[in-house]
């Protein structure tokens, strides 16, 4: 890889609403992230951290400014091109898990591979490996309703990493979990960052969760307040 950063935000703004009743969630954000980093985005509610994350994940579009992913200007891409970017480069983990209900863990994990048009054999093999990596061997045929919150989030992580994405985006991944389970999930995410070199971007408002990251960007009121390396990374 060249010296160019994986992700570069410059002068990014996001305005919600139209006319008089508008809300400026992002007021001009600049930062860049290199491949292999583990970044936590922190900040109080309404600071724009989730908005930034959604734009990073191509789930939402910025109002102004530019977002370059591997040197490609994302804001100039079409809907289809952005979908293809998500399909080939990004993996998502959400606070609410967002698994398909009444669908087995295996089928949930297979889904991104189906959209990549992998063969049935490959899909099954890869999904089983991913589930094993998150410690859910033997749970392949359980539906979300039959799994605990921690297990559901691990299925979601398996679904995110089964395509071996370059970036894993996690929006409050431990927000719905208890402390012990949160630690397990964070260790899992940390392992994928260290062992598989997946760049991790995580939004959280809990300092002990953010502590797993090597770099912490703090948002306040739609602006970056601080951007520092985390010295006490475990």
């Amino acid at each position: 890889m060249s010296e160019a950063p994986l992700i570069r935000f410059s002068g990014l703004t996001k305005v919600y609403g139209q006319g008089k009743v508008t809300f400026q969630a992002l007021k001009g954000i600049d930062f860049s992230i290199n491949a292999g980093e583990f970044v936590a985005i922190m900040g109080p509610s309404g600071s724009g951290k989730s908005t930034a994350m959604n734009i990073l994940g191509c789930l939402d579009t910025p109002t102004e400014g530019s977002y370059a992913f591997q040197g490609v200007q994302v804001e100039k891409l079409t809907r289809t091109q952005r979908a293809l970017l998500r399909r080939h480069q990004l993996g998502f983990v959400f606070q609410g898990f967002n698994l398909l209900s009444r669908t087995t863990a295996l089928e949930n994990v297979e889904l991104p591979l189906l959209y990549r048009r992998e063969s049935t054999a490959k899909r099954h093999a890869a999904a089983r490996v991913a589930l094993e990596q998150v410690g859910l061997k033997g749970w392949e045929h359980h539906t979300p309703a039959e799994l605990s919150g921690g297990q559901q989030q691990r299925v979601a992580i398996a679904r995110a990493i089964v395509t071996q994405p370059s970036v894993l985006l996690a929006d409050e991944p431990t927000g719905n979990l208890d402390t012990k389970t949160s630690q397990e999930v964070m260790e899992l995410i940390q392992r994928f960052n260290r062992q598989h070199g997946i760049t991790v971007l995580m939004v959280t408002h809990e300092p002990d969760i953010a502590a797993h990251a090597r770099r912490i960007i703090r948002f306040v009121d739609g602006l970056v307040e601080s951007d520092r390396l985390n010295e006490e990374t475990p």
């Binding site: 939402d60 959400f94 967002n98 991104p112």
Partner: protein, 401 residues
């Protein structure tokens, strides 16, 4: 891509089994109702047409007066036997002509009695009226000439007075005289207008004139046209002959009328068709209600489906792939429901038509029409909410409440 998407669609159907079943059920019931009702209506039309055909190919019935119905003669003079003879000798290409005089009487055999209508006529009546004998014989010339007390009875009279016995050779009492049963008519069943054609006692014309009505009048007469001959030309000849005999000048209205059973048949067929159309309309409403059911199920599930679409978009599905999946889902459910509905309708139609004793006829048009209509509803309401959802920003679809 198509195969993958097809796989996704089938998974989604299986995953939401209850919703899939309810959607399919709406289509099944709508389709089955329409097809069954229309098929039964068609069967009824056919059965009416067949009953009309049983009346004889095409009869002309001549009666005095212009108004239809009883007492409609308006004081116009009755026909006489001479009129009937004139028709027989002067009009060509007719099968026969039968004078008719009717009288309601009670007929008695041993302890049983039955109120019926006798008709006094000649042997042409059986030919013209398309009757065949079940057993026995028709009148002899001597019996006709002498006005003997003999009669040919219909199936209903036999049932009422004799039960399952053969009535031929027995005596029945008609009003104040005894009458020998010489023949039994083969059953014709109900007429198109619902009256029982078999509830009849046929006697020689003179017998009824002398013993029952006591008058020389011929109430009306009936004739039928030979196969292949023009009914209209016979009708014209008949009208001009009667005008001449009744001395009606060119610019006067006729004081008699000629009823053509072909016209009657056409009227009846048209009426039945209207009824079939009405049934079809009722059925169409049920199809519509089924459609609204489908629509409700689809719209109720839109929240869940919108989130699902958000998830699919987030993990890399293209808008078109999501849409194609939903389209396939809708088509599969609608088509499956449609086929099931057709099968159900065929079963119900066959069962009900035999129960109602109307013929069963498969109607390709209505099967195709209702199939495509329900498929259309299923696809529209399955597809368009999905299209709206898929056009959202993925994050908005994910957060949809």
């Amino acid at each position: 891509m198509l195969w993958n998407t097809f796989l996704l669609a089938l998974r989604a159907i299986r995953r939401n089994l209850m919703r899939s079943i309810l959607t399919t059920l709406g289509i099944v019931i709508g389709i089955a109702a329409v097809i069954t009702l229309v098929t039964l209506g068609n069967g009824a039309t056919k059965s009416v047409t067949e009953q009309i055909a049983s009346m004889g190919s095409s009869q002309l019935i001549v009666m005095p007066g212009q108004r239809f119905g009883p007492g409609g003669s308006d004081g116009a003079p009755s026909f006489k036997v001479a009129d009937v003879e004139a028709v027989r000798s002067q009009i060509t290409s007719i099968v026969g002509v039968a004078p008719m005089v009717n009288k309601g009487v009670t007929v008695v055999h041993q302890t049983k009695n039955w109120l019926t209508a006798t008709v006094g006529t000649n042997n042409d009546y059986f030919k013209v009226g398309n009757w065949t004998l079940d057993s026995g014989r028709i009148f002899s010339d001597a019996e006709e000439r002498a006005g003997k007390a003999v009669c040919v009875i219909g199936e209903t009279i036999r049932n009422r007075l004799f039960g399952r016995e053969n009535p031929v050779g027995s005596e029945i009492r008609v009003k104040n005289f005894s009458c020998e049963v010489i023949g039994l008519l083969k059953s014709k069943g109900q007429a198109a207008m619902g009256q029982d054609q078999d509830d009849i006692v046929v006697m020689p014309f003179r017998t009824v004139q002398r013993r029952l009505t006591g008058s020389q009048d011929v109430g009306r007469f009936m004739l039928s046209v030979q196969q292949g001959a023009s009914i209209d030309s016979v009708k014209e000849q008949l009208i001009s002959l009667m005008r001449e005999r009744r001395k009606i000048s060119e610019n006067e209205d006729a004081d008699f009328r000629v009823m053509d059973t072909r016209q009657l048949a056409e009227t009846l067929t048209a009426t039945t068709k209207i009824l079939t159309a009405l049934l079809g309309a009722v059925a169409a409403v049920s199809l519509l209600v089924g459609g609204i059911g489908i629509m409700n199920i689809m719209l109720v599930s839109v929240t869940e489906r919108t989130r699902e679409i958000g998830i699919r978009l987030a993990i890399g599905a293209l808008e078109n792939e999501v849409l194609l999946q939903f389209l396939i889902e809708a088509v599969v459910l609608s088509a499956f429901g449609g086929l099931l509905g057709i099968v159900l309708a065929t079963g119900a139609s066959i069962g009900l038509s035999s129960l109602m004793s109307v013929p069963y006829m498969f109607d390709t048009n209505i099967n195709l029409l209702s199939f495509f209509f329900s498929a259309f509803i299923g696809v529209v309401f399955g597809y368009f909410p999905a299209r709206r959802a898929a056009s959202l920003n993925p994050i908005d679809a994910l957060r949809y409440e």
